[in-house]
Assembly symmetry: C2
Homo-oligomer: 387 residues x 2
């Protein structure tokens, strides 16, 4: 048990360990030295993960990278009884990542078609493998689902999963399905592969490296705002027709994102190996800070370089939102953020769909966004919170 | 969409695909030719999994075995650009399995200590790798958890996970944590390794092979009955002390099962390679039928050979339950059921903790249990149902 001092108690704390049936219920009043419990909201997702995983120490020689990147890296040629000839860096490693989607938290059944939900559950996992410069190969899918869903509803989700598997050439190799008391939970684990020397971690960037981003950012968040706005209109007056025509791009980005598995091949084709990489699930700001932290660097990101779809900019303005804020804090775009050595600039500068938005600096120089008028603003993570 | 004729509609069917916000709500009455939807209960777990996965076809050459065994088998040396010298059967393959634990379905918070819950979530996954004759190496843990749990409660679960990881020498390499609207869902995926030629599938048994089981069966189910009985007593009169003293073995089997990862080494040590294997999560009957189906055989299991703890037998009688029924239908013992060639009988007959309970037959001879008085009774799956 852990004593936390100076923390305010949670609103509805349950005792750690719950109460097993064989534990005495003595009905006594709480003593003045009772443990003060910590609510999940207080810690936040990353604080929580750090606290939960800090006591785990990898023991298997096959674990090359555990918690702390987009995927774990496993090399079964390590520590194996049979040493494979010349396998050191040319060997194929196994990449593993997992993502959870919870009804009411990650998706709203009011406007999420089940087929898109299935598709997205695969795409966001494939994205984690792409962020390691690997290729997704297999998935397992576990689902807890309440009895208000029919077999046909589940089949719709699986049809989306199947379409994504087809698109990304991924095999469904296992899973588990169970009823739940309420709501729908989808847990997908993806297995990918990469040659050991090709794997890109979050930690490899050096000061001076250029920061690049694929595609454009912020549209998924604008899509979410549009869906939420029309939901409110519909709730207020159910005969109103939602006005979503013409916003296909933004809504598609939100409901049916794609993983940039094509980038691995593209970069290999032009002979560029990123020095660090991460996928943008929580917004550019949060992901840039992850790269800086893992690589022990600072950064300069130029606000006017951040690629944003022109229509997305317009809609953002309608919502009285600065477009770059949608890109920095919105999340769910599933583009890739990566760094390259300056010498690779010539190879990448003409590539459509890749934008250089800044560079890494010494850690002491801070993590800064440079506004169009030259002001430096500290980047703070305002990404999507799971709690 | 699928039309199912002659099926009764579900009690609370939701339309497959839900209703996206941009779909017209016309308020019309259901037409007489409306689709008849299928409730999840009607299909059952295995029917559902078959229906959901039948349209998936593996495409990756690295997928050696997908859905349909205790774990998937992946060999990244297959189809790789670099062919490793002499790697064909000596290469290390990757085993992947996943299990879901849902509050109110798989566990009852009234009598499940959180630490045991964490431990069990790892053990039952490790068991799936043991059932492939492999060694568990890594896990990912995803959790959806309602805000009524505190950080300390989560830490208790993780402490159980850590203890199981320590026991089985498994590394925690990833995960995802999210809030949920209600209840707790734990999704664990395990990665294991085995030499390719050592992997044991469900499908390798031949008529005449001997059927073996590790440890003893039925105690976990009796433990569950004891816990449920005391829960009712406690609910009726909260000042009553639950009477669980002296039932440590049965309750321990239920709340904190162990994976038989030791069996892999034991069998290797005596030079026995099982011809087929499965872990007993749903009861002996259900698992024996799985081996028969996958191996295309029948079986004869001798009722009086089924290993059951003497005290468990006594308690079963108190519950007016035939002890062998607890073993056949109870489930959650996480022992291993496997078959060996008859020539290996001499190697195994003196091994403590392994019992020969019958043999495989031609499929035409059926799947039968032989009672002590020589009668043959057809084995039917009455295992634990997830729906």
């Amino acid at each position: 048990m852990y004593e936390k001092k100076g923390k305010k108690p949670a609103k509805n704390p349950v005792r750690a360990g719950s109460k097993p049936a064989h534990e005495k219920s003595d009905g006594s009043k709480p003593a003045s030295n009772q443990r003060v419990l910590t609510s999940l909201e207080e810690l936040g997702e990353f604080g929580l993960i750090n606290r939960l995983t800090e006591r785990f120490n990898p023991v298997s020689p096959s674990t090359i990278k555990g918690v702390g990147d987009d995927a774990a890296v496993i090399d079964f040629s390590m520590g194996s009884a049979t040493v494979t000839i010349g396998a050191s860096s040319d060997s194929t490693v196994c990449l593993v990542s997992t993502d959870l989607m919870v009804e009411g938290i990650h998706f709203d059944m009011t406007y999420t078609p089940l087929r898109h939900l299935g598709y997205k559950s695969v795409a966001i996992n494939a994205s984690d493998i792409a962020a390691m410069n690997g290729t997704p190969r297999q998935i397992t899918v576990s689902m807890a689902i309440s009895s208000r869903y029919t077999a046909e509803a589940l089949e719709e989700i699986y049809e989306g999963i199947r379409l994504a598997c087809q698109k990304y050439q991924i095999d469904l190799v296992g899973g588990d399905t169970s009823s739940s008391i309420s709501g729908l939970v989808i847990s997908v684990t993806v297995i990918g592969s990469a040659k050991k020397q090709d794997v890109v971690y979050r930690s490899g960037a050096k000061p001076g490296d250029l920061i690049c981003v694929t595609g454009d950012l912020g549209s998924a968040y604008i899509g979410l705002l549009l869906l939420e706005r029309e939901k409110k209109v519909f709730q207020a007056n159910p005969v109103m027709q939602p006005e979503l025509t013409g916003f296909d791009y933004q809504i598609g980005r939100m409901l049916k994102p794609e993983a940039r598995t094509d980038i691995t091949l593209l970069l290999e084709g032009i002979g560029v190996q990123p020095t660090s990489m991460i996928d943008i699930s929580d917004g550019l700001a949060s992901e840039a800070l992850h790269l800086c932290k893992s690589s022990d660097t600072g950064c300069r990101i130029y606000e006017d370089k951040i690629p944003i779809d022109p229509q997305t900019k317009e809609i953002a303005m309608e919502f009285k939102l600065i477009p770059s804020v949608a890109a920095l804090s919105g999340g769910e775009d599933y583009e890739l953020l990566f760094t390259i050595k300056q010498v690779d600039y010539e190879k990448i500068k003409e590539v459509a769909g890749i934008t250089v938005i800044g560079h890494m600096t010494d850690r002491a120089e801070g993590k800064m966004m440079v506004t169009p008028d030259g002001k430096e603003v500290e980047i703070t993570a305002q990404g999507w919170k799971a709690f």
